[in-house]
């Protein structure tokens, strides 16, 4: 009787121990499996995030190609390379690129949207023809993508952020109007160029250089800085007289509070490089539209200024 009791209590002990071991194993398995599922979800999200970022960066870069503008940020310098007027119909090319994205890049799980500053959907062809240097609101823009006039505008309150602006207009065609006694300094400002003085409130260090590949005109007056509260214009005639080709540069007061540079031209083309030397590295160069790349799963997206 005693022996049976002994064996019985040992059996109970074994059963309890086995049950505990099995329960522990089951709990371990369940925990492991949950962690694996979590890890798998995290990895899927990571891959999806990486895909969204890749698509966003890919399209944002292409937009600059389609609009034929190149921008560079290097320390405190922002550089914009451009060609005036547009060499092709940029508006139509934007429409075509938009169709290309829909037909060949968008997938059932990824959608691509362009947004205006208010966050509303816009068709890509409505992308404003403007590059903005933020947070100083330096606007580099044209009336439309024909690029027949270039305006660089800054509100006077942001002048302190700009150390110098250098505009280099090159490969001008037709060439400067032929004059056997070519004297670049004879290009006259009207009204007269107003250098910075004691009474100047808004002074800007602006360097201008125009070259047709054979001869170069450098604005030596500009080295003294110009009083941006005045307005001065300069016309450079190009080609033969009958061609009626010219470039006009206007400096100074462009609006009530807007100042800077306007380049207008007729029957001519040119390459323009504009360097903005700022007093900080904390700035961004953007089109004033946003690109949003959405994934249907996990509600993941990337939305940022292009």
């Amino acid at each position: 009787m005693k022996i049976i009791k002994k064996v019985g209590s040992r059996g109970v002990l074994y059963t309890i121990t086995t049950a505990l071991i099995i329960a522990s194993l089951m709990a371990l398995m369940s925990d492991y499996s949950t962690r694996q599922a979590d890890e798998s979800t995290q990895l899927t999200k990571l891959m999806l995030g990486s895909k969204i970022a890749h698509i966003w960066e890919d399209i944002a870069e292409d937009i600059y190609d389609v609009t034929n503008i190149s921008v560079e940020k290097n320390g405190t310098n922002a550089t914009i390379y451009d060609y005036l007027p547009a060499e092709y119909d940029i508006q139509s090319f934007l429409i075509l690129y938009s169709r290309f994205l829909v037909e060949f890049y968008e997938t059932p799980d990824i959608s691509i949207e362009f947004l205006d500053t208010g966050g509303g959907d816009i068709p890509l062809e409505d992308l404003p023809p403007m590059i903005m240097i933020l947070p100083f609101n330096i606007r580099y823009h044209y009336p439309d993508y024909g690029k027949r006039e270039l305006r660089i505008e800054v509100h006077t309150e942001n002048f302190t952020a700009i150390e110098r602006i250098t505009i280099n207009v090159s490969e001008i065609y037709p060439l400067f109007r032929y004059d056997p006694n070519f004297q670049p300094e004879k290009f006259n400002w009207a009204p007269a160029f107003q250098p910075c003085g004691m009474s100047t409130i808004n002074c800007l260090d602006l360097r201008l250089q125009f070259s047709d590949g054979v001869r170069t005109w450098i604005c030596h007056e500009c080295e003294m800085g110009f009083d941006a509260d005045h307005k001065s214009s300069l016309i450079i005639n190009l080609g033969i007289e009958e061609a009626n080709s010219w470039i006009q540069i206007t400096l100074g007061k462009l609006g009530l509070e807007e100042r800077l540079v306007m380049v207008e031209f007729l029957n001519s083309n040119m390459t323009v490089r504009t360097d903005f030397h700022l007093n900080t590295t904390e700035f961004y160069i953007n089109h004033i539209s946003k690109l949003r790349v959405n994934a249907t799963t996990f509600k993941m997206y990337k939305e940022d200024w292009i």
Binding site: G11, S33, L46, H54, Y97
Partner: protein, 143 residues
């Protein structure tokens, strides 16, 4: 007799449970690295396509002969890791009437595909000179 039967049943249950546990563990352990490797392949693919796009290689394909394009792609694909197989397809589109039509497909197997799991990455590019668009599909797999 009864005791032996209970013990055998006990042992059998334990062995079955242990077997199930080990199988589940091994299945899970096999899956995890595979998913991580897929993520690595995706990253390699994206980096590769970004570098040849920013380096002007993709855009260059729009203005040169197919032979030259294939040479350029092959040269760049040699920079992929040695344990990775790859093939790339580049399709170039241009507007014709109302449609976007293929003007130039280039297929470039770097290593012949041998039926492994592949990861595909895509990149689009634009040529403002030629007014054309291109799309590059890169398939990658572990050798």
């Amino acid at each position: 007799m009864k005791k032996a039967f209970v013990l055998t049943l006990d042992a059998l249950t334990a062995v079955v449970l242990l077997g199930l546990f080990l199988t589940a563990m091994s299945m899970e352990m096999n899956q995890t690295p595979q998913r991580t490797e897929t993520a690595f392949l995706q990253k390699i693919g994206q980096d590769f396509l970004t570098s040849i796009d920013k380096g002007g290689i993709l855009k260059g394909l729009l203005s040169q002969s197919i032979v030259q394009s294939e040479q350029d792609l092959l040269e760049n694909m040699r920079h992929l890791p040695a344990n990775v197989g790859a093939n790339i397809t580049v399709i170039i589109y241009a507007e014709q009437g109302q449609d976007l039509v293929i003007v130039n497909p280039i297929e470039m197997p770097f290593v012949e595909y041998a039926g492994q799991d592949t990861v595909r990455t895509i990149r689009v590019f634009v040529s403002e000179e030629e007014l054309q668009f291109g799309i590059a599909y890169l398939n990658l797999w572990y050798l």
